[in-house]
């Protein structure tokens, strides 16, 4: 599957089977494309098997937030929630006025500077961390 590796943002789709047949996209939005230009300098492409440095994250959409084409990602442990939010916003092409929130345990929003590695230690199971994301026009 030619899923373009997001090495520029130091995230890469997990090589674990992601065999969801048809693309799941919310009817209101066009199929999200990965960002074409790298805003961040490319990092080393790490194989997802290097479990020490990267953890598997499964992203689930909440409400009418667009569903990402790729849901499973191998992410560096030191990536912050804020970094992940920025990445998803670009991936989904949200506008600046749209907020995106990420939750653990479906109900708690970690601080933006929290590292995903820590969250994985606390809330990961079955070798992955499940994070829910939800967009909102919050703050007036």
């Amino acid at each position: 599957m030619a899923e373009e590796p997001e090495s520029a943002l130091q995230l890469s789709p997990s090589t674990a089977a992601d065999g969801e047949g048809p693309t799941e996209v919310s009817p209101e939005t066009a199929t999200p494309e990965p960002p074409s230009s790298a805003a961040v300098s490319p990092g080393t492409e790490e194989p997802a098997g290097d479990t020490k440095k990267k953890i598997d994250i499964l992203l689930k959409a909440v409400g009418d937030t667009p569903i990402m084409k790729t849901k499973k990602w191998a992410v560096e442990r030191t990536r912050t929630i804020q970094g992940l939010i920025d990445f998803i916003k670009k991936f989904l092409k949200l506008v600046a006025s749209e907020q995106l929130f990420i939750y653990v345990n479906q109900s708690f929003a970690p601080s933006p500077d929290q590292e995903v590695g820590t969250l994985y230690e606390c809330f990961g199971s079955d070798g992955k961390l499940v994070l829910h994301y939800c967009k909102s026009q919050a703050w007036g």
Binding site: V62, G63, D64, T65, Q82, I85, D86, A96, S97, Q99, F101, Y103, V104, N105, Q106, S107, F108, A109, P110, S111, P112, D113, Q114, T118, L119, C122, F123, H132, C134, S136, Q137, A138, W139, G140
Partner: protein, 216 residues
């Protein structure tokens, strides 16, 4: 009882009680205060931060950081054991107060906050905004007067800054609907505070996440 995004004062107090119980377990400092005149009450927490301002290089340095800066970086080495040289930095201690009240008109919780120096000088909203996390800054700066305003604390009668509650229901509903499919005991206050807190410099320790959705 309606399991909806809106809830009444009693439910608010119940959520707060659970929240405070966890706060006590981890020493996070939240307390419940009641009004003298009625059974209304609110949660409050105070914390102190050292705000480090380097006099020499004022332009764009870490003048306003969220975390306490180690003192060693700010002060010059003393000439001898007992004499401290003129330091190039002054450290101010800022007292932050966060109050969680219930809004009858919006039927949601509301976050009131204020900050002051130890001598009582209040911080301006501008200074508090500088403590807002980067990710929220753009949005807040687009329409600050819609989101943070100064109002009289309903119980204390003193001026506080308030994060306006008009959108609370809108961003809480999808999350709650989703989480309540799995667990009906999600603590609204914990979820809500984890979301709005960072906007004003308040971060909840991760252990609340476990408490936010008690399975037992």
């Amino acid at each position: 009882m309606e399991e909806n995004e809106f809830f009444g004062e009693k439910t608010f107090q119940r959520y707060c009680a659970e929240f405070i119980k966890h706060s006590q377990q981890i020493g996070d400092g939240w307390e419940w205060r009641t009004s003298k005149d009625s059974s209304d009450g609110y949660m409050c927490k105070m914390h102190f931060q050292i705000k480090n301002e380097t006099v020499v290089s004022r332009a764009g340095t870490s003048a306003h950081e969220q975390t306490c800066l180690p003192m060693e970086e700010a002060l010059e080495l003393p000439l001898d054991d007992f004499e401290v040289t003129e330091s190039t930095a002054t450290n101010e201690v800022i007292k932050y107060e966060y109050h969680v009240l219930y809004s009858c008109s919006y039927q949601v919780p509301v976050l009131y906050f204020r900050a002051s120096f130890l001598d009582g000088r209040p911080l301006a909203l501008k200074d508090i905004w500088e403590g807002v996390h980067e990710c929220y800054k753009t949005r807040l700066l687009q329409g600050p007067w819609d989101t943070i305003s100064q109002q009289e604390h309903p119980i204390l009668g003193q001026p506080f800054f308030v994060l306006h509650p008009c959108k609370t229901n809108e961003f809480m509903t999808p999350v709650l609907k989703n989480s309540r499919k799995i667990n009906r005991n999600v603590n609204y206050i914990t979820s809500w505070l984890s979301l709005v807190g960072p906007v004003v410099g308040l971060h909840l320790p991760l252990s609340y996440a476990g408490a936010a959705s008690q399975d037992e």
